[in-house]
């Protein structure tokens, strides 16, 4: 089952650029792009950092495909 995320929407809502996010989270801009396009699933460590960075609950950021409504 594919993991999907709402990082792009959350990032744009907060007015943060990919470069700023990459600098703050100490990751490359390519990784930010790959995560946002659901081409790469971040490690648990990075996922937890993302949640803390945007201050949102995990279910708001990541969900399994087909389970979004729940």
């Amino acid at each position: 089952m594919k993991v999907v995320n709402h990082i792009r929407e959350i990032r744009l809502k907060n007015g943060i650029t990919q470069v700023k996010m990459a600098q703050d989270l100490k990751i490359t801009r390519q990784t930010v792009n790959a995560i946002e396009k659901n081409k790469y699933n971040p490690s648990l460590e990075l996922a937890l950092k993302l949640i803390r960075y945007f201050n949102v609950p995990i279910e708001e950021m990541f969900y399994l495909e087909g389970y979004e409504e729940e």
């Binding site: 600098q23 100490k26 490359t28 390519q30 990784t31 490690s43």
Partner: protein
């Protein structure tokens, strides 16, 4: 600060190693070392170092504190080297079988060195590409 010192030390050792290696290589080959050859042996690594140093400074200025590699880079390189391992392992075996089937009984070591150099070059370029994807 400690990391920076270690980086400088490593770079210095590599540079000195390259220069010494150049002189050793030429003396083994029996080449008489004159001023222009010595200048090339000493100058080439220094110029190479200066170019790479300037590029890294330019990158730092342009990209700020964004790191060059992260967990995804490590994963991509891991996958790439796994592919390279099987390619080299089975590829060299297949190449040997093909050569044997063609009737070639011996391989000149000089030719083997050239083949390995090309292989290393291709793997190196591939590594750079895999790291930047």
């Amino acid at each position: 600060m400690k990391k920076k010192r270690l980086e400088r030390l490593t770079m210095g050792i590599i540079l000195i190693g390259m220069i010494i290696g150049g002189f050793i290589g030429l003396s083994i080959a029996g080449v008489t070392i004159n001023f222009s050859i010595a200048a090339a042996i000493i100058g080439a690594p220094l110029i190479g170092f200066f170019i790479s140093y300037s590029l890294s400074k330019w990158r730092k200025k342009r990209m700020g504190t964004i790191p060059e590699a992260d967990e995804r880079t490590a994963l991509m390189l891991k996958r790439y080297f796994l592919g390279v391992l099987y390619f080299v392992l089975f590829g060299s075996g297949a190449a040997l079988l093909v050569l044997y089937a063609m009737g070639i009984q011996t391989i000149e070591t000089g030719m083997l060195i050239v083949c390995m150099m090309i292989l290393y070059l291709v793997i190196g370029i591939g590594t750079l590409i895999a790291a930047k994807l």
